[in-house]
Amino acid sequence: MTAEGPRGAVPRGNGGAAAPAPIVRTEGLTVRFGGLTALNNVSIAVPSGEIRGIIGPNGAGKSTFFNCLTGVLKPTSGRILFNGEDIAGLAPHTISRKAIARSYQITNILPGATVLENVRIAVQSRHHNWSMLRHHRAYADVVDRACAVLADVGLAGKETELAVNLSHGEQRNLEVGIALATEPRLLCLDEPTAGMSVAETHATVELIRRIARDLTILIVEHDMEVVMGLAHTITVLNYGEVLAEGTPAQIQANLRVQEVYLKT
């Protein structure tokens, strides 16, 4: 697996010539749970079009960072600028409509609905969502788009199955499909390959590479091979603070990172 994606003009966050304006930037983001500081003064800028890896030991604050970005948590202090607008503390549905989507570390789907319905309802959030007098299947645009998303995430043919009956790996991909169906510009993936087999992991990596052509991706991942292979830049969190930031090669060579994280 090569460390670089196939694209030439990948915008880089690490200085150099005229970096493009970041699609998302945090300034002094801090989250405290009582006495525990889960995020401490985190300032990160992610250029549009980048795949940004976020790594760090368990409890480092990675999921908390996503929770702030998607409105699940209101940060104790700090700003989150998405395309220049401060979105810190906005409601999750408002942030979703600004084109930020996420998948969850712990699978978070509609268990009793069909696979198609899981994705269809996400597509529908942008189209006809208040229509009351026609059958939902009559809106072929929504159904067709949902089927296309399912094909994208490798779930074609599973449309009529109940989501709860999918295998773990399939549910993980459905998770990504639901997020994709909301047509995001920024996609936050929280350990998308957690618990997957080697083959499933490989397929998911390919999927992420494919969808990354049109959007910016933040990915939290424990599988080092996966994250090093996918990310253009990696941010390392430790005890809620940014420990290091750089290309996969730089991170692998960073002594402090090795000290707290990579050495096992």
Binding site: V72, P92, H93, R102, Q124, R134, H135, Y139, A151
Partner: protein, 324 residues
Amino acid sequence: MTTAPAARRTPSAVGYRIGLTVVLALLALAPLVLPPFWQRFVTEILIWGLLAMSSDILIGYTGMVSFGHSAFFGLGMYGAAAALLTVKPPDLWLAGLYGLVGAGVVAAFVAYFATRLRDIYFAISTLVFSQIFYVIIFTWTEVTGGENGLTFSQPRLSLLGLGSDRFTPVTLHWFVLAVVTLSYLLIRRILQSPFGKVLESIRENEARTRAIGYHIERYKIVAVMLSGLCAGLAGVLYAIQNKFAAPDFVFFTVSGEVVIFNVMGGMGTLVGPFAGAAFFLLLREGLSRFLTEYYLIPLGMIFVAIVIFLPQGLLGFLRRRLNQ
């Protein structure tokens, strides 16, 4: 991908239509063959079924348990009473309008405040709101008649342009059947619509539904309004059938029975609550003849047996077919 499932009639959709037609035909014929007591009884089952169905919108589809449906039902009743007592000559459609406005106002009030709460807190707040309305109705004697309620005369059955006539038990039954059937078809369509699918998504996973961009509270408010209006309509029909409005019907035990109809008949099916209402009312009728007020003991045991052995309710097994 070319998908046009809407245009396709699946075998089970055909089965649904046949089943519905047969049941409606039987219900339409029922008053022609039944003795007067049972004639009236079947009409009443339809009305209670409509009330229970209105509650199913929240319990079965949105995942919100309301213990306050007696308030919507009661306001429908008293609204109808207001029209029938103040407007001369008493007008059927005006009774419906007043009743729906009454129930709608209360539903808007409850929806606005109660939907900020979830789960048991929502359930309790609906109960508290309905009891507030009960106390108001019970104590405001000059307007509501207090404990004694209000009695009035039955409006004539008037169909626009077709003249009017006094209700007979049979025409009243047909009128109720028509209103209930149209309400059922409308609610069913709304629950199959994109809006209705959002309600189901809220039931399945509220946090995720919010995360994909839905403003949950707004959907819940509309769901409660819809449910309250439908319950109010049942109240109107009950007022017209019985020619009185009484505070007992606003009391929370009525709301409890509504939830029981849903659990017995099958939540999330719309028709299940009708079956639940029929089953419960028939059992009560039969048991109380032998056991007077002790009928509650076997009724309670039957309820527990259903919850244990038929957790989906009497018609729960039809759920997927009914909701296609």
